[in-house]
Amino acid sequence: MIWAIYFAIASLLAIGIYGVITKKNLMKIFISISIMETGVNLMLIAIGYIPGGTAPIENGDFTTYVDPLPQALVLTAIVIGVSVLALALVMVINYYEKNKTLEYRRLMKW
């Protein structure tokens, strides 16, 4: 079962990286980054998973529960991801108004 999760993580990361590298549309680039973030969040959760563990709420009935720390980390990471994405989209809107295009010219001027 766990290999399926890792497969999902790897594919999410790969899709994200592929999108960032190949797409020229700014909106698509930021969505790809968001997909990568989802992959990493899933990875953190998977790291904290203990087979047969329950939700980390102590009520005496359960003795094995999953590692709660990665879940807290993921909550933080999700919030950060959302705020960065929101700011990014605002900037993309501004960029569109100035340039009338979403194409990002890859200027590597030195």
Partner: protein, 443 residues
């Protein structure tokens, strides 16, 4: 007297979000930055006399989050807050949003420096990055937006990579505490090596090291002078300090070698690219990249020689103060008043490494270190880059000196104060004593 380092982060954060209610943005921000500077100086005094300071939040380590302040961290906190204070004086028209973002950037840069928890460091990196994206885009013209978006794409990818690195590290050690991980670090499995690679790449974007610094010239060019100055002494310096901590965790010979090679390439490419630039801010940005390379070289010697930590400190502070002053001056075509001329000349001399300035001691000690290691090619690279630096800064001075464009007093004096700091730091010998006890960074 008990000093709580957490106040350095908590107070600016609190007031950043209270700002819309308080209205008087400029006055409040100045008071907070001044308070922070004084607190940081007190904290340094305390750390210098009584040894490293801990602040535990909620649980005791290694479970809970904690702040760890040693000499170098305290000095960096002083530097960031003091320069942020001086820099803020030069902003003539302060909007509430600007003040909020500014405080967030300062608080999070300080946070990166004093935190002892790697995930906490990631969070502060994100706050610093998000506020700097917004600040870079502040002018909202084409250049600013382009710079900000470039920074943002790279910065977001960097944050993902950092998170992957943290996840690997956590899965290996089941701990996020930097000092706990450091003590348990051994030869390293594949997972640890991967986590080092991911963390270095992630932090490297913020620290402007070579293959990851494509955003630097565009972002600095698009940003206003006071913001470019903030970026050069705030987040980027915190980033390079985070790399120092990273090298402390993964303290293998190979990682120091890697830092050395990356540092040399960054130095040479940054300086050579700066030589070719037409635009002042772009030139200063590339020069920043070069100086970051120099700082990285000094970090890579941490293991081999005692001079490295002194060189690191001097290079860092001299670059922060003098590049801050030059970015502030870059808002205008020429220097105009005498105060600006003084600031420009002193800063340029410090960056090139002329004797009475702080930058001289940085280069002096790094070359002393290299001589001790008998690595002559490092000296050759540093001397060569200094010559290139001298060439383009001479051109810069000759063009800016001739322009007579007088700025208001508010805009003219902050760079002069920063330049005076580099001058004082170069002259006052007791500062050397402070730097020599900095052996703390090795653990």
């Amino acid at each position: 007297m008990v000093i709580h380092p957490v106040l350095l982060i908590a107070i600016p954060l609190l007031f950043a979000f209270l700002m819309p209610l308080l209205k008087r943005a400029k006055a409040v921000t100045i008071i907070i930055l001044l308070f922070n500077t004084l607190l940081a100086i007190l904290m340094f005094h305390n750390v210098y006399n009584n040894g490293p300071l801990y602040e535990i939040i909620a649980f005791s380590p290694p479970i809970g989050i904690y702040l760890y302040v040693d000499n170098i961290a305290a000095l960096l906190a002083v530097m960031i807050n003091l320069l942020a204070f001086i820099n803020f004086l030069s902003v003539e028209k302060v909007e509430i949003k600007f003040a909020m973002l500014y405080l967030l950037a300062v608080a999070s840069s300080t946070g990166i420096v004093i935190t002892g928890d790697i995930f906490n460091m990631f969070v502060f990196f994100e706050i610093a990055a998000v506020s700097s994206y917004a600040l870079v885009a502040w002018k909202r013209d084409k250049e600013a937006l382009e710079g900000a978006i470039k920074y943002m794409v790279l910065g977001s990818i960097a944050s993902v990579l950092m998170l992957v690195g943290i996840a690997f590290l956590y899965s290996e050690f089941r701990s996020l505490n930097i000092y706990d991980i450091m003590n348990r670090m051994d030869e390293g499995s594949v997972l640890i090596l991967l986590s080092f690679a991911f963390l270095l790449t992630g932090i490297g974007v913020e620290a402007e090291i070579f293959p990851l610094n494509g955003w630097v010239p565009d972002a600095y060019q698009g940003a206003a002078g006071s913001i470019a100055s903030l970026l050069s002494f705030g987040p980027s310096k915190a980033g390079i300090y985070a790399i120092a901590r990273l090298l402390m965790i993964f303290s293998w010979q190979q990682s120091y070698d890697l830092a050395l090679y990356v540092g040399i390439i960054t130095l040479l490419i940054g300086e050579l690219a700066a030589f070719r630039q037409e635009n002042v801010k772009r030139m200063l940005a590339y020069s920043s990249i070069g100086q970051m390379g120099l700082i990285l070289i000094s970090l890579s010697m941490l293991d081999s020689t005692d001079y490295a930590i002194i060189a690191f400190f001097f290079l860092l502070v001299s670059h922060a103060a003098s590049k801050g002053a030059l970015f502030l001056l870059s808002e205008r075509k020429g220097f105009g008043s005498n105060a600006s001329k003084y600031a420009g000349i002193v800063s340029v001399m410090s960056l090139i490494g002329m004797p009475p300035m702080a930058g001289f001691w940085g280069k002096w000690y790094i070359i002393m270190g290299a001589m001790q290691m008998e690595a002559w090619w490092i000296i050759a690279a540093i001397v060569f880059s200094s010559v290139v630096e001298a060439a383009y800064f001479a051109r810069y001075l000759s063009t800016t000196m001739q322009e007579e464009e007088h700025a208001s007093i508010i805009a003219a004096y902050p760079p002069a104060i920063m330049a005076t700091l580099t001058l004082l730091l170069g002259i006052l010998p007791f500062i050397y004593k402070i730097a020599t006890i900095g052996g703390v960074i090795n653990g």
